[in-house]
C-alpha cells in the first residue's frame, strides 16, 4: 500500500531539483530561480507535514532505497530512509525554516539588487536537500555523507560575496574547522562499521542495539587495540562526537560560527536555526541509543554543553554587531542542547532543538530586516529607536528575544527549563559533574537574558543614533510575512510540552512531545532511552518541588539579566557600560583569544612545520637524489677525460693493457718458470 511515507524521498529530492534548476536555468528565470526554490521547499514542507501526521498516527518507515556500494564477501553500503518521530519532527522544522528563508531572500537578496542570484538559490536548494538527506538518513555513513555536503553548502553560501576579502576567508574557516571535527567523525564511522559490521540506526542490525547486546554479553563485536567493549564504545562515541562538536560549534571548535556571519543574513538563519549547526545535535539525538550506553561520553557531552553555553553567553555580552550577538547566542543555545543530551534529557534537548530553530530563525530574519532598513550597517550603536519605524519587525523580534531569554510563556522558557531540570535531577542523583554543568548552564541563563535585551534595547529603543536609523529603508511583505509566522511560532511552540505545568498541577497528557517521541521503533523511542540512562534521579522536596524550584530559579536568572539590560540600556542615550569591565571586556571582545590560538596553530605551527618539511624535502630528500646524480656526473666528467680523442693514447693504453694482461696471465700460469 502506498502510504504517504512512500513519498518521503521526494522531500529530499524536491530541493535538490530546485538546486539543479537554479544552477542550470536560474539566469533565464524571473527572480533568479527563487520561485523554483520556494515551490520545491513548499512542496517538501507539505509532504513533511503529511509525514509528521502519519508518524503521529503510528506509521514509521525504515527502508533501504539505494545500494551505494555492494560488497562481495563484505557488507553493503547503502542509503535508506528512516522516518520516525525524531526525523519527522526535524523534517517539518527544516522545510519550514527553509521555505521562510527562501521567501525572505526575495526581500533580502532580490529587492536589494544582489548579483549571482542563481548561484545563491542553487546553494540554498542544495543546502536544504543535504540537510534533509541527513535528517532522514538511516545509517551513519549516509548521515556522514550528507553532513559533509552540508559543510560544502555552508562554504558556498558563507562565501557568497566572494569578491570581498572577508567572506571567502570566513567560508574557508567554517569548512576547515568543521572538517577537523569531521575527521574524528569519519574515524568514528569507520570504527562503527569495523566494530558492528553495520551502521544502521534502526532495524534488526542497528548498531546501538548491537552495542547494548554486546554490553549485556549476548552478542560479541570486534573491538580494537586491545580495549574492552565499554572502553571501545566510549572511544567510538567520542570520535563521532568530534563531528558534532565541529558542526554544532561547541567549544573548542566554535570559532568558525561568528565568522560565518559574513554570509548573507538569510543564510545565517538557515545555518543557525535548521541546518548545519542543528545537524550536530541532531546526530547525537539520532544515535542516542549508543551514547546512553557509555556514561563517560555522556558526562563529556554534558560538560562541553554546559561550558559552551556559559562561555559563549559571556562573549555575546560585549559584541557591537547585531549578528555577532546572535551568533554567540546560537553557540550558547546549542550548548544547552548538548547539556540536555549529556544529562539524559533526550526529550528536553530535542524540544529545545525545535523551539530554538523557530526563535533563532526569527531572530536572524528580524536582524536581516533591520539590516535592510539600516542599509547593511550592522552596528547596534548606530541603531536605536527602530521600534516605531518598523513595528512588525519589532514585535516579532521581541517575541523571539523573549523566547531566547527564556521568559515564560515563550517557547524558549519551556525547553530551556526542561533541559536544566533534567540536568538538575540527574545531578542530584549523584553526579557532581552534572551539577557543575547545571551551575554553568544556570549562570548562562543570566547572561542570555542580559545580552538578548541589551540587543533589543540598543536596536529598537532609545533615540536613533544615526541618520539611517532616523530614516530606515522600508521592508516589504516578503520580509514581514516570514517574521510574522515565526513570531507566532516562537511564542507558542513551547506549549506542546509543558512539563512543569503537568508536574505542578498534575494535569496529565499535556506533554505532547514526550508522547510523540515515545512512539515508533522500540529501540529509538524516548522511553527506551530513559531506561538505559546511567543516571539516577534526586529531588529537592519531591518531584513537583524540584520542578518549581528549577523553573523559578532559571526564570529568575533570566529576568535578572533582562532587568539589568533594561536598567543599563533602555534609556534614550545608552552608553557603552561594558567599558567598565576594562580588560575583561578586551578578553571577551577577543573571544578569549580562541581565534588567535587556532589561527596560531594553523599559521604559527603547521605552516612553519610544512615550510621546514619543504626545506627538508628540497634540501635533503631531493638533495640526496640530486647528490647521486651530481656524483655520477662528476665522476663521469673525470673518467671521460681518459677519452682524449687521440688515437695514439688509445693505442698506448691498449698496448699497456695487453702487456699487463700477458704478464698477469704468465705469472699466474707459470709461463716464466
Amino acid at each position: 500500500m502506498a502510504g504517504i511515507l512512500d513519498f518521503a524521498p521526494a522531500i529530499v529530492l524536491l530541493p535538490f531539483l530546485s538546486f539543479l534548476i537554479a544552477l542550470g536555468a536560474g539566469r533565464y528565470m524571473p527572480k533568479g530561480g527563487a520561485l523554483a526554490g520556494i515551490g520545491a521547499t513548499a512542496g517538501s514542507f507539505v509532504l513533511s507535514i503529511a509525514t509528521f501526521f502519519a508518524v503521529s498516527g503510528g506509521q514509521t518507515y525504515n527502508q533501504t532505497i539505494y545500494t551505494w556500494a555492494e560488497g562481495l564477501d563484505a557488507i553493503n553500503l547503502t542509503f535508506g530512509l528512516l522516518i520516525d518521530p525524531l526525523s519527522s519532527m526535524m523534517l517539518v522544522i527544516v522545510t519550514l525554516v527553509a521555505l521562510l528563508v527562501h521567501i525572505f531572500s526575495l526581500g533580502y537578496m532580490n529587492d536589494e539588487g544582489e548579483t549571482g542570484l542563481p548561484r545563491y538559490y542553487a546553494g540554498l536548494g542544495l543546502f536544504t536537500a543535504s540537510m534533509l538527506g541527513f535528517v532522514v538518513a538511516d545509517n551513519l555513513l549516509m548521515a556522514f555523507m550528507f553532513f559533509e555536503l552540508v559543510g560544502l553548502c555552508s562554504y558556498l553560501l558563507i562565501g557568497f560575496h566572494f569578491r570581498q576579502d572577508g567572506p571567502p576567508s570566513a567560508a574557508k574557516k567554517a569548512f576547515l574547522v568543521t572538517r577537523f571535527g569531521d575527521y574524528f567523525f569519519l574515524i568514528g564511522v569507520v570504527a562503527v562499521f569495523a566494530t558492528f559490521g553495520s551502521a544502521a540506526f534502526a532495524g534488526p542490525d542497528a548498531f546501538p542495539v548491537l552495542a547494548e547486546e554486546a554490553l549485556a554479553g549476548e552478542h560479541s563485536v570486534n573491538t580494537f587495540l586491545g580495549m574492552g567493549e565499554q572502553a571501545w564504545f566510549t572511544v567510538v562515541g567520542l570520535l563521532v562526537l568530534g563531528g558534532v562538536v565541529g558542526k554544532s560549534a561547541q567549544f573548542p571548535l566554535h570559532t568558525w560560527l561568528p565568522d560565518a556571519m559574513e554570509g548573507p543574513t538569510p543564510v545565517s538563519a538557515l545555518i543557525h536555526a535548521a541546518t548545519m549547526v542543528a545537524a550536530g545535535v541532531y546526530l547525537v539525538a539520532r544515535m542516542y541509543g549508543f551514547y546512553v550506553l557509555t556514561p563517560t561520553t555522556l558526562a563529556i557531552i554534558a560538560l562541553i554543553g554546559g561550558f559552551t553555553a556559559l562561555f559563549a553567553a559571556t562573549m555575546g555580552v560585549v559584541k557591537k554587531e547585531i549578528k555577532q550577538v546572535l551568533a554567540y547566542s546560537t553557540i550558547s543555545q546549542y550548548g544547552y542542547m548538548m547539556l540536555g543530551l549529556g544529562a539524559g534529557g533526550y526529550v528536553a534537548a530535542t524540544f529545545h532543538l525545535m523551539t530554538h530553530a523557530f526563535f533563532k530563525a526569527l531572530l536572524f530574519l528580524g536582524a536581516g530586516s533591520v539590516i535592510i532598513a539600516m542599509h547593511h550597517n550592522e552596528n547596534m550603536w548606530d541603531m536605536g529607536g527602530l521600534k516605531d519605524k518598523m513595528p512588525v519587525t519589532y514585535y516579532a523580534f521581541l517575541s523571539g528575544s523573549l523566547a531566547l531569554a527564556g521568559i515564560v510563556p515563550f517557547a524558549g522558557f519551556w525547553s530551556k527549563d526542561e533541559v536544566l531540570y533534567e540536568t538538575l535531577i540527574h545531578g542530584l542523583g549523584g553526579s557532581p559533574i552534572l551539577l557543575a554543568a547545571y551551575a554553568m548552564g544556570l549562570l548562562a541563563v543570566f547572561f542570555t537574558g542580559f545580552y538578548t535585551f541589551r540587543m533589543v534595547f540598543l536596536t529598537f529603543h532609545g533615540e536613533p543614533r544615526s541618520g539611517t536609523a532616523r530614516d530606515p529603508h522600508g521592508v516589504r511583505w516578503n520580509v514581514k510575512g516570514p517574521l510574522a509566522v515565526l513570531g507566532v511560532l516562537a511564542a507558542t511552540t513551547g506549549l506542546v510540552n509543558m512539563v512543569p505545568v503537568e508536574k505542578l498541577f498534575g494535569i496529565e497528557g499535556i506533554d505532547f512531545l514526550h508522547q510523540f517521541l515515545d512512539g515508533s521503533f522500540s529501540s529509538l523511542n524516548a522511553h527506551h532511552y530513559a531506561e538505559l540512562i546511567p543516571y539516577s534521579s534526586g529531588y529537592i522536596g519531591g518531584e513537583a518541588g524540584t520542578v518549581a524550584i528549577g523553573a523559578a530559579v532559571s526564570l529568575g536568572f533570566a529576568l535578572g539579566g533582562a532587568a539589568l539590560a533594561h536598567v543599563l540600556y533602555n534609556v534614550p542615550e545608552p552608553v557603552e557600560h561594558t567599558d567598565k569591565l576594562g580588560s575583561i571586556k578586551t578578553v571577551l571582545y577577543n573571544n578569549y583569544y580562541q581565534d588567535e590560538y587556532q589561527v596560531w596553530i594553523a599559521t604559527g605551527v603547521v605552516q612553519p612545520i610544512s615550510r621546514v618539511l619543504d626545506k627538508f624535502d628540497q634540501g635533503i630528500v631531493d638533495g640526496v637524489v640530486n647528490g647521486i646524480s651530481s656524483v655520477s656526473l662528476f665522476a663521469g666528467g673525470r673518467v671521460k677525460r681518459v677519452q682524449t680523442g687521440v688515437v695514439s693514447n688509445y693505442a698506448a693504453l691498449l698496448t699497456l693493457g695487453l702487456t699487463a694482461l700477458l704478464l698477469g696471465l704468465g705469472l699466474l700460469g707459470g709461463w716464466f718458470a
Partner: protein, 509 residues
C-alpha cells in the same frame, strides 16, 4: 583480438598524427583518439571475466600465443583484462582524449609530434594494463617512458631538461631494480615454470614452488624480491621519500602531460604493486605490513604537509598526488575487500580528479601565464565557469561525498581499519586519515587566495573566460567524478570480484 586491435589502432593513430600537418594535428588526434575510447567502452560493455587474472580467474578478451623462445622459457604474447585492469583501460582512453583536447590551447608548436607522442603513450599504457606476460608487459612498461621523456623535455617549462632527465633516469633505475627482483623470483622458481606468463608465475608461487637461488633460501629470496620490486614500483607511485622526481616533472611538463602523468602514469606503479607484490607474494607482504603501513602514512601526511608549503598551484596538486597515492598503499596492505578494492578504485578516482585539477590549473595558466598563488586573486570574478569547476574539483579532491574521491577514500579507510594484518592498523588508519584535514587546508587556502577576494592580477594579460574547448574536458571529468561517486558500483563490483582471490591468499578470510 579486441585488445590487439585496440593497441594497434592507437599505434596507427599515433603514426597518422605524426604526419598530419601541425595545424590539424590537434583535431586529428582528438578524432583518432575517439577510436580507443569507443573500443574500451565496447570492451567494458562486453566484459565477462570473473576472478583475478593471475590466480586462475576467467580472463576477458584473452589471447595467448607462443612468441619467442628464450632458453628454457617461452615468451608468450598474452594479453587480457580482469576487474582490476578493465577500469584502468577505460580511464586511460578517456583521459587521453580529454588531455588531447586540453592541449589545443597551450601547445603551439610541433603539434603533430606532440599529439603523436600522446597517442603513442596511450598505446603503450594500454599495453601495460593488458599484458599478462612479463616480457611483453616490461616492454610496454619501459616504452611508456620514452614519449613521456620527450613530452616533458621538448614542450616543458624552463627547467624541462632537468625534469625530463630526472624523471627518466629515476624511473629507469627503479625499473632495473624491479627487474632484478622479478627475475630472481623467476630463477628461484626453476623448472616449475616454462614461460614468463604472469598467471603461471603467480600460480607457481602460490603453490609453493619457490626454491632457493643464489645462496638465498626460498623465504629470503621472496623477501629480497619483494623489497626490490616494491622499491621499483614505489618510485613510480611515488611513495615518500622516493617522490622528488614528481613535483619537478609536473611543474615543468605542459598541462596535458601533467594530466597523463598524474592521471595514468602513477597508476602504473600502484597497478604493478597490486599485480606483482601483493598478488604474488602475499605472505611476504603481510610480514612487511608494519614498514609498508608506515610508508603509506608517511606519504599521506608528508605529501600533504609539503603541499601546504607550496606557492605554485601545480606543485600543490603534485604533492597532493603523493598524498593520495599513500592512501592506495594503505589500502593495498590492508588485505580486505574494501581495502584492496578501494585502493584499486582510488586509482581510477584519483586519475579523474587529479586530471581535473591539473587541467583546471592549466586553464587558469593559459590565461594568466602564471601559476603562482601570490600573483593573482579574485580570478573567479573574470573566469566564473572555470573557477566553479575548480572549486568543485577541489572539493572532489578533499573527498566530498558523492564524488569519486570520497568513495575511494572511504573504502580504503574502512578496509584498512578492519584489517587483520596488524594489531595497530586502526592507529595507522586514523593517522593517515588526518590527510583529509590537511588537504582541505591547502586547497582552501589556495582557492581563497587565487580565485576569491577582490580581483588583482600582476601581469599584462587580459583575464577572460576560457574558450569552450578548454572548459569542456573539465566538465566531462567533473561529471564522471560525480557519476562514479554516486554509483561506485560501476567499477567497484568488478574490482572486488578480481580482488577477492588475492585476499584469500593473504589469509584475510
Amino acid at each position: 583480438m579486441i585488445i590487439e586491435a585496440l593497441i594497434a589502432v592507437t599505434f596507427l593513430a599515433a603514426l597518422v598524427t605524426f604526419v598530419v600537418p601541425n595545424r590539424y594535428a590537434g583535431k586529428a588526434a582528438f578524432a583518432l583518439s575517439l577510436a580507443p575510447v569507443v573500443g574500451s567502452l565496447y570492451m567494458w560493455q562486453q566484459y565477462d571475466a570473473s576472478g583475478n587474472a593471475l590466480l586462475g580467474g576467467n580472463i576477458a578478451f584473452e589471447t595467448d600465443v607462443a612468441w619467442l623462445q628464450l632458453g628454457q622459457y617461452d615468451i608468450h604474447w598474452m594479453v587480457g583484462v580482469d576487474g582490476i585492469s578493465m577500469p584502468l583501460v577505460v580511464l586511460t582512453t578517456i583521459l587521453t582524449t580529454l588531455a588531447i583536447v586540453s592541449a589545443w590551447t597551450p601547445i603551439s608548436e610541433r603539434q603533430s609530434q606532440f599529439f603523436g607522442l600522446m597517442l603513442l603513450m596511450e598505446a603503450n599504457l594500454l599495453g601495460v594494463f593488458t599484458a599478462l606476460d612479463f616480457f611483453v608487459w616490461f616492454i610496454f612498461w619501459e616504452a611508456v617512458l620514452l614519449p613521456m621523456y620527450f613530452l616533458i623535455g621538448v614542450w616543458g617549462g624552463p627547467r624541462r631538461k632537468y625534469a625530463a632527465i630526472k624523471f627518466f633516469v629515476y624511473t629507469n633505475i627503479a625499473s632495473l631494480v624491479m627487474f632484478i627482483g622479478f627475475i630472481s623470483l623467476v630463477f628461484g622458481l626453476g623448472d616449475s615454470i616454462s614461460s614468463f606468463r604472469l598467471p603461471e608465475i603467480a600460480q607457481a608461487l602460490q603453490a609453493g614452488q619457490l626454491g632457493s637461488f643464489a645462496g638465498l633460501s626460498a623465504g629470503a629470496l621472496a623477501s629480497v624480491a619483494f623489497i626490490a620490486m616494491f622499491f621499483g614500483f614505489a618510485v613510480k607511485v611515488p611513495v615518500a621519500p622516493l617522490h622528488t622526481w614528481l613535483p619537478d616533472a609536473h611543474v615543468e611538463a605542459p598541462t596535458p602531460v601533467s594530466v597523463m602523468l598524474a592521471g595514468v602514469l602513477l597508476k602504473m606503479g600502484t597497478y604493478a604493486l597490486l599485480r606483482f607484490n601483493f598478488t604474488m607474494l602475499p605472505e611476504t607482504a603481510r610480514a612487511f605490513a608494519l614498514p609498508i603501513a608506515l610508508l603509506a602514512v608517511a606519504s599521506v601526511i608528508y605529501g600533504a604537509l609539503l603541499a601546504l608549503a607550496q606557492q605554485d598551484l601545480k606543485r600543490i596538486v603534485a604533492y597532493s598526488s603523493v598524498s593520495s597515492m599513500g592512501y592506495v598503499i594503505l589500502g593495498l596492505i590492508a588485505y580486505t575487500t574494501y581495502g584492496v578494492g578501494g585502493a584499486t578504485f582510488q586509482m581510477v578516482a584519483h586519475g579523474l580528479i587529479s586530471g581535473l585539477m591539473f587541467m583546471a590549473v592549466g586553464v587558469i595558466y593559459n590565461t594568466t601565464h602564471t601559476r603562482m598563488v601570490s600573483d593573482m586573486s579574485g580570478i573567479a570574478d573574470r573566469m566564473p565557469v572555470t573557477a566553479g569547476i575548480f572549486v568543485a574539483g577541489a572539493f572532489g579532491y578533499m573527498g566530498l561525498p558523492l564524488m569519486a574521491g570520497f568513495a575511494a577514500e572511504f573504502f580504503i579507510f574502512k578496509g584498512a581499519f578492519e584489517s587483520t594484518v596488524m594489531e595497530a592498523m586502526p592507529l595507522f588508519t586514523g593517522a593517515a586519515m588526518f590527510g583529509i584535514v590537511i588537504v582541505a587546508g591547502y586547497l582552501l587556502f589556495a582557492m581563497q587566495r587565487t580565485l576569491f577576494g577582490p580581483f588583482r592580477f600582476d601581469g599584462d594579460y587580459d583575464i577572460t573566460e576560457a574558450p569552450f574547448h578548454d572548459v569542456a574536458p573539465l566538465a566531462v571529468l567533473l561529471l564522471l567524478t560525480i557519476v562514479l561517486g554516486v554509483s561506485p558500483d560501476i567499477f567497484f563490483t568488478m574490482i572486488q570480484d578480481a580482488v577477492n582471490p588475492i585476499l584469500e591468499l593473504g589469509g584475510a578470510f
